[in-house]
């Protein structure tokens, strides 16, 4: 299958602290890939580098066949790369509707009308957002806020959606409800990367998974073929 994102020998650092070491990462079109690892493993740094929020110190990132190592975040959104940031980062003080509208003018225009994500389609995906569209986002529950964050990212018409810990701080029922929507999102041809602390959830929701430890990829392969024991070794660094 054609790769939508290729990351080769990626290194990234925050000042003197190197967070990523020669990371190799690849996602095919329409694929769901999970990125797992303990806190500080480099998952969020990898997403930030891919989305242009930080500049890699070395290595190559190619999105849809085009080098994007130095492309700024806002330009990548127009190319079809959107992110649901960790902690949701909604625009407080704005209504649900306004949060969604921020992205509308800045999305790709090369998407077929039928496949386009529109606000009514987001309301179909998450009906509760339709009911609460006039309310300030801070008045919504954590789960509903996460739905706004996912909806907002989808309105960028992404070819690749990066979800950074969307289950963080949410009740299991709400997490399940959000994860149930992933196949629907994927059905439109959107590839998805999920960064997840819950290994079982990550494994069951993805086609392939990557495990990061201290800035290095310690395990990768089809999710259905990787056992929990192998994940445990890669996750905690018990090399054997």
């Amino acid at each position: 299958m054609r790769a939508i994102l290729k990351v080769r020998n990626l290194c990234a650092a925050y000042g003197d602290f190197q967070a990523l070491f020669n990371v190799e990462f690849e996602i095919a079109a329409g694929e769901v890939v999970a990125l797992i690892g303990a806190n500080g493993a480099g998952k969020s740094t990898l997403l930030k580098a891919v989305t242009g929020l930080i500049s890699p110190s070395a290595g190559e990132i190619a999105f849809a066949g085009e080098s994007t190592s130095r492309t700024p975040a806002h330009a990548l959104v127009r190319k079809g790369l959107a992110m649901v940031p960790e902690g949701r980062r909604l625009f407080r003080g704005m209504t649900v509707e306004d949060n969604l509208r921020v992205c509308l003018d800045r999305s790709r225009t090369d998407v077929e009308q039928a496949l386009r994500w529109t606000i009514p389609r987001i309301h179909e995906l998450f009906p509760v957002l339709k009911e609460r569209r006039r309310e300030l986002v801070e008045r919504l529950s954590g789960g509903q806020q996460q739905m706004v964050a996912v909806g907002r990212a989808l309105l960028a018409q992404p070819r690749l959606l990066l979800c950074d810990e969307i289950s963080l701080g949410l009740a299991p029922k709400v997490v399940k409800e959000i994860y149930q929507k992933l196949p629907e999102i994927r059905a439109g041809g959107t590839s998805i990367v999920i960064v997840e602390q819950d290994v079982s959830l990550a494994k069951s929701s993805s086609d392939r998974l990557y495990c990061l430890l201290e800035g290095r990829v310690t395990l990768s392969g089809p999710s259905c073929e990787i056992g929990l024991e192998a994940i445990s070794r890669a996750y905690f660094g018990a090399h054997s």
Partner: protein
């Protein structure tokens, strides 16, 4: 529910009244030479300048997250451009006032290139250094008479009535462009991106908002408005010196007006500028004591009411003057939803409670008139 015909409500009763009063004020100011005393005309000109520079600083700090303590750079540039173009080059001084706005915006570009990599306090200090550099530079240029300053001799060719008419017309234009312009800007889609950038710059960038371009645009707009205010102020004074034009006290006025009035709301700088203006008029005689009192007031507001006086007022009565939000309502369900929003919790909902320093984007539906625009989803 069909989304092809959705009404966007953008006004409240209070905002319609505020808009009407604003139009009345902007229209009445140019007529002042026919009915007001010279003293009152000078008050209005000075107040217009204070409101304008405070509003511009509010755009910078309240929406773009750029805290500048060097706004006096643009006051001075605006003033000096007026004096040089009118005195030395023979331009019509009244037409040069808007031209000063463009000059200040042009000067702001190299300043931004120098300062753009700085964040927070470093950016603030950088703006102050830039303004000081301009002051020193101006004081050493003989073409503008160095440190001795310049007098606007060209104004002698106009009668007092003509001068008053020109100044009041420029005051109206200044208010229209700075306050009215900010209102229109913040209600546009650009305003939505601007607010997003203020609240969550990282999230805004990852949703396609070009944060750097937005910051540059706001920086330039604020410089333009401040420069125009500087030109108008010194046109009324008829004299400018580097020490006066580039005086850091201008930035103190901006900070006081916005911090005390309310940052991140259009109403805040107006209230703050009014407070500063009248406090200066009535208590200025107490000198240093009065300045200490103003400083303490700023401190108290920053500590106990970061949303400023406007936020406190809004907790008492939710009557926004210049709301910049949109409320989307389906026509067929409008009546029912309005009823729903009149329920207890919503009626009690004051935006000061919900938003603190950032102000609100919520408009209580109970006080909203039906809008006329159709929002195509």
């Amino acid at each position: 529910m069909s989304y092809s015909n959705v009404i966007v409500r953008r006004q409240t009763t209070s905002s319609v009244i505020a808009l009407a009063v604003s139009v009345l004020i902007v229209t009445a100011i140019p007529t002042m030479p026919y009915w007001a005393s010279n003293g009152h005309i000078r008050w209005v000109i000075e107040l217009s300048c204070l409101i304008a520079i405070a509003q511009m600083w509010n755009l910078l700090a309240g929406y773009a997250g750029l805290v500048s303590v060097g706004q006096q750079a643009f006051i001075g540039v605006g003033g000096y451009v007026l004096f040089v173009f009118a005195n030395n080059m023979g331009f019509n001084p009244f037409w040069t006032v808007p031209l000063s706005a463009f000059a200040a915006a042009a000067v702001s570009i190299p300043a931004y290139i120098l300062l753009r990599r700085l964040e927070g306090p470093y950016f603030a200090i950088g703006t102050w250094v830039f303004a000081e550099a301009l002051r020193l530079l101006t004081a050493n240029i003989s073409y503008v008479n160095g440190g001795s300053g310049m007098s606007l001799r060209v104004m002698a060719q106009y009668t007092p009535g003509q001068r008053a008419l020109g100044l009041t017309m420029m005051s109206s234009l200044l208010l229209l462009l700075t306050v009215g312009g900010s209102y229109v800007l913040l209600r546009s889609r650009f305003g939505l991106a601007l607010t997003a950038n203020r609240d969550e710059p990282v999230a805004a960038a990852s949703q396609g908002v070009n944060v750097k371009r937005i910051r540059l645009m706001i920086w330039m707009l604020a410089a333009a408005g401040t420069g125009m205010a500087g030109a108008l102020y010194y046109m009324a004074q008829l004299r400018i010196t580097p020490d006066a034009g580039f005086d850091p006290y201008w930035s103190s006025i901006c900070i006081f007006s916005v911090m005390v009035g309310g940052v991140g709301r259009l109403e805040g700088p107006i209230i703050g500028a009014l407070l500063y203006f009248f406090a200066t008029r009535f208590f200025g005689q107490f000198g240093a004591t009065y300045l200490v009192a103003l400083g303490l007031l700023t401190l108290v507001m920053a500590l106990f009411s970061p949303g400023g006086i406007w936020s406190l007022l809004s907790r008492l009565v939710n009557w926004p003057w210049f709301p910049v939000t949109r409320v989307v309502v389906n026509q067929s369900q409008r009546a029912g939803e309005d009823q729903e929003c009149r329920s207890g919790a919503d009626r009690k909902r004051g935006f000061g409670d919900a938003n603190g320093v950032n102000g609100t984007k919520h408009v209580d539906a109970a006080s909203i008139k039906p809008g006329r625009e159709t929002y195509q989803l």
